[in-house]
């Protein structure tokens, strides 16, 4: 296996982007990433997307996106792992470059979610769960994470206030991110008094419906040096699966796919979680950030809520989490999210983050991207 680096990054603004089409979102992000890397050709590309079929009635995304990025006739493949589609696309691109099969590979992610109404979007998202045995009975995604939250509260004494602190922190971070969908600061009371979606999760515990795309360029480390680009090395890669239905798991207060993926990535990098300076994790709901931080071994079971309350995961805390604003504030165009996490990590490790959210003295970071209620998870570790 060759050493691989990220040599270019690009993303669109995240939000309700009425003016922009599915294909143009992807092309904009891809163009920005290629210009950033200083490359005008690709050897191959991967497109992470959860549900072009249900959101815009379009499949065959490898062809569509390679066409509109103007890079025909390279091999182009769509990768799907629900909300972890971006992470899975990044993994596929990493493997292709590491293997020596290709030199310059684009990993992108995209979702256009606002061309359908809220009911259809909810339905499309629910297909990431067990359609026949969860969705059929009236489970929604907030509902599944609410089941997890209730179990976590019952076992560990986690409170709604702890969950609210996750949201407040991520909105504070997002307020400094020019690409964020909801860059406004919120308060704990604001979260607790917001509309209930699925008890105990309020609307301000939930990530939004978002349009957006992100792309990154991967290449062998030595090529980055030739291009004169500062290489951000990929030193760990892990992926794992778990049951499609939340109810099939013995313990629903831990996400085993995140745990196993993190173990694999850390073992590959020959590091422990305490060697990591900050993380972008999949906060599709506030409870998810807490459960993931416990599952990847950063905090003991039941202690991530207290860490959030104490500010340990804030920008100036001992382990900043989601400096981008996370899915909560930045937005969650599902297929793009895993790539947008890599985008933020590369920005931070290059020292290029905007508006005062730049972290100091950071060398290594972890990205955790998750599908469904944890049925799949990817973890990547990057180093400056």
């Amino acid at each position: 296996m060759r050493d691989v680096a990220v040599i270019g990054i690009g993303m669109t603004k995240f939000g309700e982007l009425w003016e922009q089409s599915f294909r143009n979102l992807f092309a904009e992000a891809g163009q920005k990433a290629m210009l950033d890397a200083g490359v005008d050709k690709l050897d191959s590309m991967y497109v992470g997307c959860m549900s072009g079929g249900l959101f815009v009635g379009q499949e065959h995304l490898g062809s569509l996106m390679a066409d509109y990025l103007g890079v025909l006739p390279i091999p182009a493949t769509r990768v799907e792992s629900a909300c972890a589609s971006g992470g899975a696309a990044f993994r596929a691109a990493y493997i292709e470059v590491a293997s020596g099969m290709s030199d310059i590979v684009l990993a992108g992610g995209v979702e256009k979610m606002t061309d359908v109404d809220g009911g259809m979007a909810t339905y499309a998202l629910a297909t990431a769960a067990d359609a026949e045995y969860e969705g059929f009975h009236g489970a929604t995604f907030p509902g599944l994470y609410a089941l997890m939250a209730r179990a976590h509260m019952d076992r560990y004494g986690t409170t709604s206030e702890m969950l609210a602190h996750v949201s407040v922190k991520n909105h504070n971070n997002g307020s400094m991110n020019p690409n964020a969908q909801f860059p406004m600061k919120i308060t704990v009371d604001g979260v607790l008094n917001s509309t209930m979606v699925a008890d105990p999760l309020h609307i301000l515990d939930c990530s939004p419906i978002t349009d957006g795309a992100a792309a990154v360029i991967l290449a062998p480390v030595e090529m980055a040096e030739k291009l004169g680009v500062k290489p951000i090395r990929i030193i760990g890669a892990g992926m794992a699966s778990d049951t499609i239905a939340l109810h099939s798991r013995k313990d629903i207060t831990v996400i085993n796919s995140a745990k196993v993926a993190a173990e694999k990535a850390l073992a590959m990098a020959n590091l422990t979680i305490n060697d990591i300076d900050f993380a972008e994790v999949h906060d599709c709901f506030t409870i998810a950030e807490l459960v993931v931080l416990e599952s990847i071994g950063k905090y003991k079971p039941g202690e991530a809520g207290k860490a959030a309350m104490d500010g340990a995961t804030a920008l100036d805390g001992e382990f900043p989490v989601n400096p981008s604003g996370g899915l909560k504030s930045k937005g969650h165009p599902v297929g793009a999210t895993g790539i947008a996490q890599i985008y933020e990590i590369v920005k931070q490790l290059r020292g290029e983050a905007e508006n005062g959210r730049q972290l100091k003295n950071v060398k290594r970071a972890l990205a955790q991207n998750m599908g469904g209620s944890g049925g799949s998870s990817t973890v990547h570790i990057l180093e400056a």
Binding site: Y133, A139, A198
Partner: protein, 132 residues
């Protein structure tokens, strides 16, 4: 969206109407819905097993913002229930104030109408749980 054809509906009826699970003959593990392959054992042999119809709430939520098919029903309680046989499933807890459901609550399953899909002309039936 394509209309659902009836084979997809009747195929699941043994599970939705009668709660038919299967049991690994060697380990006694009960799977709902029935599995073709036991986790980690390609050679497991199964026998049909009807769930007894009672269970315990493992965790719950109250769905306030429902998916379209259940738009008229919200707020409703949704729970993960561990059946007496150990297999777990997701279902609604009905015939109660949804905010009174608690972890550890004993329930029994009943056959109920779930929702109608007018486009496909299908009325879906299945299990819900009531407190005992």
């Amino acid at each position: 969206m394509a209309r659902t054809l009836t084979a997809r509906v009747w195929r699941e009826q043994p599970q939705r109407y009668r709660m038919i699970a299967n049991k690994d003959k060697a380990t006694g593990e009960v799977y709902f819905p029935p599995r073709v392959v036991a986790p980690g054992n390609l050679n497991a042999e199964f026998e049909e097993h009807q769930l007894s119809g009672t269970g315990t709430v493992i965790t719950y939520t109250v769905i306030v913002v429902p998916p379209d098919p259940y738009a008229d029903l919200a707020p409703y309680a949704l729970a993960i229930v561990e059946t007496e046989e150990g297999a777990r499933l997701t279902c609604q807890i009905t015939d109660c104030d949804p905010y009174t459901v608690k972890i550890g609550q004993k329930v029994k399953f009943e056959f109920r109408r779930l929702y109608e899909d007018n486009e496909a002309s299908v009325i879906y039936y299945g299990y819900k749980a009531v407190m005992i």
